[in-house]
């Protein structure tokens, strides 16, 4: 799915991302962990061609993300509010994103129907613009819009941080299910080592731009992360 060679991004001489090689495959759920400033969000932006790499290459299904726009048709992401068109209502926004991916209004409505529980009646048919929703609800809107397109590659930046506990648990289940049913490739970053070790099939631990650990998810990964993050 994703193949990375010598990827580097530096700001004023400091390397924010520095990855020699990395292969990510379809069906994998990658948990990206690391303290603030480790380079997680920068890495995501590089994957989406939102910033220019200082060196190296990212291939998505064999195509350079900087050269071809093909990746846009099967990639969905939610990083921050910068992905939401805040003067639209949630419905309009979903229809917009749906339309760009050849989904009719009826398709979108069907999809939203299945995620009603996720919205908890707080988002649809409220007659409000996205900018007037709370941060947590904006986050839900962003995540659902990303899922809506049924992508092959899904990128979520700290999805657990802004959600209420119920929704966090729901999202954990959703991620696991999507990866299993649709062989979706999902990359999530998180500070919540509990959730991340539960959803991820593989965990990448970043420190100062480098991937210093590449381990399988699960109980063992949780213990290893606790060991790493423990105050020394």
């Amino acid at each position: 799915m994703i193949s990375i060679k010598n990827l580097q991004k530096s700001y004023k001489g400091v390397k924010a991302v520095d990855i020699d090689t990395l292969e990510i495959h379809a069906g994998e759920v990658i948990g990206l962990v690391g303290n603030n400033g480790a380079g997680k969000t920068t890495f995501f932006r590089l994957l989406l061609d939102l910033i220019r790499a200082s060196g190296g290459e990212i291939f998505s299904k064999g195509n350079l993300v900087t050269a071809s726009e093909d990746w846009k048709s099967y990639t969905a992401a939610y990083i921050d509010e910068g992905f939401l068109i805040d003067y639209l209502t949630p419905e309009e926004y979903f229809y917009f994103v749906g339309k760009l991916n050849q989904l009719s209004k009826a398709d979108v409505d069907d999809f939203l129907q299945t995620y009603q529980a996720f919205f908890d009646d707080a988002i649809l048919k409220k007659g409000k613009y996205i900018r007037d929703f709370s941060k947590g609800n904006q986050f839900k809107i962003g995540i659902i819009a990303a899922l809506l397109t049924n992508p092959e590659l899904l990128i979520l930046d700290e999805p657990f941080a802004n959600l209420d506990p119920t929704t966090q648990l729901r999202l954990v289940d959703m991620i696991k299910q999507m990866a299993a049913d649709k062989r979706m490739c999902i990359i999530v970053s998180s500070h919540d080592i509990n959730h991340v070790s539960e959803v991820s099939s593989r965990i990448l631990l970043m420190e100062k731009g480098k991937i210093i650990k590449d381990i399988a998810g699960g109980e063992a990964a949780y213990d290893e992360m606790v060991e790493y993050f423990k105050v020394k």
Binding site: L48, K72, G82, Y87, G127, Y129
Partner: protein, 491 residues
């Protein structure tokens, strides 16, 4: 926490704003621009009596001046509605700090006074009073006259704030005041009352009985107290900024038929109609349509086709340059998203181009009614229209790929230079004067029709090659895409 600390923070926030220091050259140009305006206005104050004497001999400049004071303050109040914003949000971070409410109120009041519109009047009143009133009525009367004027400026300022705050509760307040002013003006127009006469009576009377200046002073104090009390009891953020209205979701179903491009155009339309700043720009483009009534007859009479062409260009093409200078910046708050949605860049640019064509055609159609003033208007407007959509639109899109500045959609547009760089100034100059110069030369040395046909052909050539140009623009956009994204992320 003293007032000076508050003001120091405001000072920092002004100078440390992300976009403030970036281009020193622009700051200097703007500084000179403001300075010139101030000097001109002060000069106007001094020269006014002489101008009056020269243009209307036999009239007393003081009487004439006084007869327009009421009018001035009413128009001033309307202008303030547009230009002055409530400085409420700036106190948000302080509300939870250990600061007395009274000092916050104090800050809000003082902070709001710092505005060009409060400074300008003094540049007229002071020189005029010293040059004209002082010799005629003496020092006491002059001082009292000035005190009254200051009081009235002060009153206008706080009245505007008060009305604006009241309209946060209930927007009818605003309309009621505007309606009241309109009715007064109407009564004046139909000679039921006379602004000029009553204004002259009141203020000449004031010069004879200077101590009556306590009346305007009292009015100003009452307004201030009203405003202050209202603020004191409403010092909550949600009550200070205007409540957002419930959505009236318009869908542009006509555009649904045109696929992704239609979808993106309808997105732009929603952007325009749901956000303060683009909305006021578009309203301005509409008002500009009326320019024809003011300028066309004059230049038709003198046969000055170059000027007619200039105004035709402004009337048909203002939307393109106004909206287009921030073409991508309008979406700066969600540009990360725009660049990762499933949108092809060529389609994205094409949608922008078609938006220009649509709105410009609309302006052109409406403006065609000016053809009744004289047949020359029609070919001139056709040339201007073709040039606008065939050349200006592409130039504008190209220039927009160099605009890296974040734009806040909710701030009002008037006197707002956020997001404007030196390049945008250059561009507006080029767009308006380039073709006018060509038209002028051709019209002067060869002939009217040559000028019309040449300008129109330029537009038609641009339209004929639109696909090629759009592809090239998409490439240009992609070259600078990361720089644009980076700039937009800096808020």
């Amino acid at each position: 926490m003293t007032l000076s600390t508050f003001l120091a923070h405001q000072w920092h926030s002004f100078w440390r704003a992300r976009n403030a220091n970036k281009s020193l050259a622009l700051q200097i140009i703007l500084g000179i621009f403001y300075l010139l305006i101030f000097i001109e206005i002060a000069g106007l104050g001094i020269l006014l009596p002489y101008l009056i004497k020269e243009s209307m001999p036999g009239k007393d400049p003081i009487v004439l001046f006084c007869s327009y004071i009421i009018y001035y303050f009413l128009v001033g109040l309307l202008a303030r509605f547009q230009l002055q914003e409530l400085p409420s949000l700036s106190i948000q971070p302080y509300l939870t700090q250990n600061i007395k409410r009274s000092s916050m109120l104090h800050f809000l009041n003082v902070r709001s006074l710092v505005h060009v519109i409060n400074v300008l009047p003094f540049f007229v009143f002071i020189p005029f009073s010293i040059v004209v009133i002082l010799p005629a009525y003496g020092a006491v009367a002059t001082i009292c006259f000035l005190i009254s004027m200051f009081a009235l400026v002060f009153n206008n300022h706080f009245l505007n704030m008060y009305i604006k705050r009241k309209s946060v509760d209930n927007s009818w307040w605003f309309f009621a005041v505007v309606a009241a002013i309109a009715i007064l003006k109407g009564a004046d127009y139909f000679k039921l009352i006379s602004f000029e006469k009553s204004s002259a009576d009141i203020f000449i009377g004031l010069l004879h009985q200077p101590l009556f200046c306590i009346i305007p002073l009292a009015i100003a104090i009452i307004t201030f107290v009203l405003n202050n009390n209202y603020l004191r009891s409403h010092l909550y953020i949600e009550e200070l900024v205007s409540e957002r209205k419930l959505t009236i979701s318009k869908s542009y179903s006509l555009l649904d038929r045109y696929g992704d491009i239609g979808e993106m155009i309808s997105l732009d339309l929603k952007l325009i109609f749901r956000n303060k700043r683009p909305k006021s720009l578009v309203i301005l483009s509409g008002v500009i349509l009326l320019y024809g009534f003011m300028f066309y007859p004059k230049y038709l009479q003198t046969g000055n086709y170059t000027m007619l062409f200039l105004f035709a260009l402004i009337i048909t093409g203002l939307f393109i340059s106004n909206y287009g200078q921030f073409l991508f910046a309008w979406q700066s708050s969600h540009f990360d998203g725009m660049m990762s949605y499933n949108i092809n860049m060529k389609q994205y640019i094409k949608a922008k181009f078609l938006l220009f064509v649509t709105v410009c055609s609309l302006q052109f159609l409406i403006a065609s009614f000016y053809g009744f003033m004289g047949w020359q208007i029609i070919p001139i407007q056709i040339a201007a229209f073709l040039y606008s959509i065939g050349v200006n639109s592409f130039v504008t899109i190209y220039a927009a790929t160099y605009n890296y500045k974040y734009l806040n959609l909710s701030k009002s547009a008037s006197l707002n230079f956020q997001g404007i760089g030196a390049l945008q100034w250059l561009q507006s100059l080029l767009i308006s004067f380039g073709p006018v110069l060509v038209f002028f030369l051709l019209n002067k040395f060869i002939g009217f029709w040559t000028a019309i046909i040449s300008i129109s052909s330029l537009g038609i050539i641009g339209l004929a090659f639109n696909r090629k140009i759009i592809n090239w623009l998409a490439e240009q956009f992609n070259i600078r895409k990361h720089k644009i994204l980076e700039g937009f992320r800096e808020r």
